[in-house]
């Protein structure tokens, strides 16, 4: 009868292959059969209630013929079980009490040799009255109403404990079951895995259909080969790498969404079969190859064999993924670095500006008596203030960053068609060898935190290196005067100009736009600060400043014209000398260019801008010349006035002198004879 029961169980299981698990337990202690085959039922939904009920009834009715009598004992609540001696002999070591509508465990008397006890499909709420069955190896309490694991502490030889489909909330009281081989707790209400660390012989643990939210605390389960965790609410898995024998892990229908939350699986060397189906992670496009790549030891994933081809694909994809990730990490690192550098540059700039204004007010004299800051101290505070900024970053990034960005005082960035320069140091980048392609692509050049005067000095370079730049952007560049725009006239072409009001006081002037239009009229600009330039604007600009240009061109004396245009040319020349060493080929072209420039707009070319430093230099030069001129003219004029004075004195004396001379001559020749004698004497004396 009992084998029949087994058959029927296995038969039922075959209907349900997908969710059933075929177990082979080798137990040498079972005498008549070396192998006891049975099925663990993990999936109950495939047994609809009605069928189960029907089954139960049928089984129950078939049991009627069995020679098992449940006799009410003297104790009021517990039935006492007795078997006929015949039956005892036939199935001396097993007892099946399936579907007996038992609400309590009966007292089983005189059956101390029992090895297998089956209480499937009853209504037992508490495990009782079996502590005397110390030889019990197999205890099946599947489908009862047990709320707590208890009463098992004497069953030291128990190897299979089936408690599926009960009401257990907590794993407990298994301390003495050291030789437990199979523990089935599926279909309960367990929320955490606990009190199992001593089960070093446990090979199979079924916790499917519980309320687990995570997996950990698994160490000590050294023999565990199969762990079933399907249909829980697991979000992360830990500790699995502490299971040296684990081969099969079922995580289907949980709440795992990232590979990182199960990454310990990658460290398990024994795992060969795993399922993730029914998890959010399985929906991801990267799911399969990521798992394969990280778990080289796997042979089956979601019940499918893993082919070599698939594995190769996975590794290729994973490699790409890895690269992508590294790239994005790099990118975010760069982005962060950029942000920090810009902050750093901004701080430097602010300090510098403050210093400049300080000096300016000091020069202004009157009311500011605070001495200008010591520049060294300023630098020091910049550096020391920097680490605070990095504090907000996540540690990985900031670690990587700290080495990089503390010293950076400028930033150069090419993003598509935009070249962005932050900090005056960035201007040096124009000396770099830009590839022709990059240089050709750049149409927008943006300057931030750079003194405009410094920008002016590199404009010729900009013209050569980025010939296609059409749009210039200035922000925090200290544009304060209209005349500074004159400097832009030397460029090849500008279509658009954007001057951010931040750090450029000139933008607050009502006239600045018109002046730009006027001065850069030869570019026929399209947009200024994002607004389209209209014909009216052009006319207005001309109306306001046309006369200035006219005066500058037509009334400037020739020598001044030469001098002013000469300066511009000289500046160009100075740059050419610098660049000559590097690129001799360009010089000729550039020469023509500068000539053309000089001819292009003479009436406006006189309106040029020399940077303050250069201008001061020039003034210094002039001062020296002036000094020389002063002394030279002084000498000349003194000489001239002296000559004049002598001349005048001579003029005054001359008439008197002439009279005296004549008188002397007359007196001399008054006595003719003696005079003649004298003359003759002189002649003879000469001979």
């Amino acid at each position: 009868m009992i084998p029949g029961k087994y058959r029927s169980v296995s038969g039922r299981a075959t209907n349900n292959v997908n969710c059933g698990l075929h177990l082979v337990i080798q137990t040498s202690s079972l005498p008549e059969k070396n192998k006891v085959e049975f099925k663990l039922h993990k999936e109950t939904p495939s047994f609809p209630g009605r069928l189960l009920q029907h089954d139960l009834e049928r089984n129950y009715s078939s049991r009627q013929g069995e020679h098992i009598n449940l006799v009410s004992s003297s104790m009021p609540s517990f039935p006492i079980l007795q078997r006929s001696s015949e039956e005892k002999i036939l199935y001396s070591d097993r007892l099946t009490l399936e579907r007996q509508k038992l609400t309590v465990c009966p007292i089983i008397d005189g059956e101390e040799h029992l090895r297998l006890l089956n209480f499937q499909h009853n209504f037992i709420t508490r495990i009782q009255n079996i502590s005397n069955l110390q030889k019990l190896i197999f205890l099946d309490l599947y489908d009862n109403q047990i709320e707590e694991i208890s009463g098992l502490c004497t069953l030291r030889s128990l190897r299979v404990l089936l408690l599926g489909k009960n009401r257990i909330k907590k794993i407990s009281n298994l301390e003495n079951l050291k030789s437990l081989d199979v523990l089935d707790l599926h279909g309960n209400q367990i929320t955490t895995i606990e009190n199992v660390n001593h089960l070093c012989d446990l090979r199979v643990l079924n916790l499917a259909r519980n309320l687990l939210s995570h997996v950990d605390n698994l160490n000590g389960l050294d023999s565990l080969t199969e762990l079933n965790l399907r249909h829980n609410q697991i979000t992360f898995v830990r500790d699995v790498d502490n299971l040296p024998s684990l081969q099969r892990l079922f995580l289907s229908f949980n709440n795992i969404s990232t590979f990182e939350s199960v990454c310990c699986l990658a460290d398990s060397t024994s795992l060969s079969d795993i399922t993730f189906d029914g998890n959010p992670i399985a929906q991801e496009s990267w799911y399969r190859h990521t798992v394969l790549q990280n778990m080289m030891q796997l042979r089956q994933l979601d019940m499918k064999r893993i082919t070599e081809e698939e594995r190769r694909m996975a590794s290729v994809i994973a490699k790409k993924e890895e690269e992508k990730k590294r790239e994005s990490h790099k990118q975010s690192l760069l982005k962060e670095k950029k942000r920090l550098t810009i902050n750093n540059v901004a701080r430097k700039w602010d300090l510098q500006q403050q210093r400049v204004t300080n000096i300016a007010t000091n020069q202004d004299g009157k009311d500011s008596d605070s001495p200008s800051q010591d520049p060294c101290q300023v630098d020091g505070s910049t550096i020391s203030a920097f680490p605070e900024e990095t504090g907000s970053l996540d540690s990985g990034l900031s670690n990587a960053l700290q080495g990089l960005s503390v010293t950076d005082t400028y930033l150069v960035e090419v993003d598509g068609d935009t070249l962005s320069l932050y900090g005056s140091g960035a201007l040096e980048s124009l000396d770099r060898n830009w590839s022709v392609q990059t240089a050709g692509m750049v149409t927008t050049v943006s300057f931030t935190f750079i003194e405009f005067d410094e920008i002016v000095q590199v404009l010729p370079k900009l013209k050569i290196k980025f010939p296609n730049s059409l749009h210039l952007k200035f922000k925090e560049t200290n544009l304060v005067m209209l005349q500074q725009f004159n400097a832009l006239a030397q460029l090849r072409r500008i279509d658009q100009l954007t001057v951010d009001p931040q750090g450029n006081p000139v933008v607050s002037f009502t006239l600045w736009k018109y002046y730009v239009l006027f001065r850069l009229s030869h570019f026929s600009m399209q947009k200024i600060n994002g607004t389209e330039v209209t014909q009216n604007d052009m006319i207005m600009a001309e109306r306001l400043f046309g006369i200035l240009a006219h005066v500058a061109s037509s009334e400037l004396p020739q020598y001044r014209l030469i001098s002013i245009l000469g300066d511009a040319r000289k500046k160009q020349f100075r740059y050419l000398l610098e660049s000559k060493g590097k690129k001799p080929g360009i010089v000729n072209e550039e020469n023509n260019d500068s000539k053309r420039l000089a001819g292009e707009n003479t009436n406006r070319a006189t309106l040029n801008y020399t940077t303050r430093d250069f201008y001061n230099e020039k003034l210094e030069e002039i001062k020296e010349k002036k000094k020389f001129c002063k002394t030279y003219i002084e000498d000349l004029v003194k000489e001239a006035t002296e000559i004049n004075m002598k001349n005048e004195a001579l003029q005054k004396l001359w008439p008197q002198m002439f009279i005296e001379l004549v008188r002397d001559a007359v007196i001399e020749i008054r006595n003719k004879n003696s005079y003649m004698k004298l003359c003759l004497q002189k002649i003879t004396d000469q001979k």
């Binding site: 202004d364 002037f509 009502t510 006319i539 006369i547 240009a549 004396p557 001044r560 000489e639 001239a640």
Partner: protein
């Protein structure tokens, strides 16, 4: 060569001197009383001679190509016309009264259109305009001029072009005089005996302060007659140019008491002083310059060409310089009638030369 040059200089500068001392009359006897050198220095002839040589040195190569005599002719012509100060350094622009007047006039001519357009501008913006003509023009002077317009407060207010220009004229042309006046005013305020005032130096202006509020509340300013006496004293001694004393007295005679800025405002608005200075037309005519308007119309006619194409634009912008009509020298329409000789042809040629 050297003496020849000096001779040229002397003959050239003679005319300049006549032109430059328009406001002042110098008797020939006075001329004879001074040694030649001092006389030349006093008349600023030396300044121009020095500057001419300096300019020559600056562009030796270029100038020697078209002739040194030509250069000197042109230099002194430009001095007479007042175009010599365009885009020059501030130290030169303020070196002589003639230069100052020329600069004022150039500023008026160039930016009259801005005023005509009706824009009210801030002090900073005016300063920018000044810097377009003189790159190192000091902010301090502009600030002082703005103080006259705005009566020493609300420095970032908007000003009309003519207000600013007239105030700026007084401040710029008579800046040394005004500093001395400020010192005297302070002394008067603090109750010192004005007649015992030590000759104020140019540095004395620095410790000028606003009168404390209490004082100003009770009796603002100083007594006009006393002030006038002191100024008379000052004008006698002063080595820099002062406004005509009669006109100053006229200003002061109208009121009982006045403040420093009140005085400056009165000066700047005084029609006679403007005329005596001779750089700007009368206030009513400040927006009026028909010759330049004509020129502007011509320039405006070329604007559409500018928009259409780049090449046309550059050509068009060349045009005015190719055909500089020299519509009289800038000084001519005002106070001095000067003959324009045939030199305009020569200079046109040279303009072309410089373009190549």
């Amino acid at each position: 060569m050297a003496t020849e040059g000096a001779g040229n200089l002397a003959s050239g500068s003679w005319r300049v001197e006549l032109g430059s001392c328009a406001g002042q009359r110098m008797l020939s006897s006075e001329r004879l009383a001074l040694p030649d050198y001092e006389y030349l220095a006093q008349r600023h002839v030396l300044t121009y001679m020095e500057d001419a040589v300096c300019q020559l040195l600056e562009n030796k190569e270029d100038i020697s190509q078209y002739g040194i005599a030509r250069f000197f002719t042109e230099y002194f012509n430009s001095v007479c016309q007042g175009t010599h100060i365009l885009f020059r350094e501030f130290s030169f622009i303020q070196a002589t009264p003639h230069n100052r007047a020329s600069f004022l006039r150039a500023f008026w001519r160039c930016f009259r259109t801005v005023g005509k357009n009706g824009d009210l501008l801030t002090m900073k913006e005016y300063h920018c305009l000044l810097q377009l003509l003189c790159p190192d023009f000091p902010l301090e002077l502009t600030q002082k001029a703005a103080r006259i317009v705005l009566m020493d407060d609300a420095m970032d207010c908007l000003m009309s072009f003519s207000d600013f220009l007239l105030a700026f004229q007084i401040q710029f042309y008579y800046s040394e005089f005004l500093e001395s006046v400020a010192a005297i005013y302070q002394d008067l305020l603090s109750g010192k005996n004005p007649n015992a005032v030590i000759v104020p130096t140019s540095s004395s202006g620095q410790h000028r302060q606003r009168p404390t509020l209490g004082e100003a509340g009770m009796l603002e300013g100083v007594e006009a007659s006393l002030f006038s006496q002191c100024l008379e004293n000052l004008c006698d001694r002063h080595k820099y140019s002062c406004p005509p004393l009669a006109l100053v007295k006229e200003v002061l005679s109208n009121v009982q008491r006045l403040t420093f800025y009140g005085f400056l405002v009165a000066l700047s608005k005084h029609h006679g002083i403007n005329q005596a200075l001779g750089a700007l037309p009368d206030k009513g005519d400040l927006m009026h310059d028909p010759a330049m308007d004509e020129e502007l119309e011509r320039l405006l006619a070329q604007v559409p060409g500018l928009v259409n194409s780049v090449t046309a634009g550059s050509e068009a912008s060349c045009l005015p310089s190719r055909t500089p009509p020299r519509v009289g020298s800038p000084w001519r329409p005002l106070h001095h009638i000067r003959k324009v000789d045939a030199e305009s042809d020569g200079s046109t040629e040279e303009t072309d030369e410089s373009e190549t």
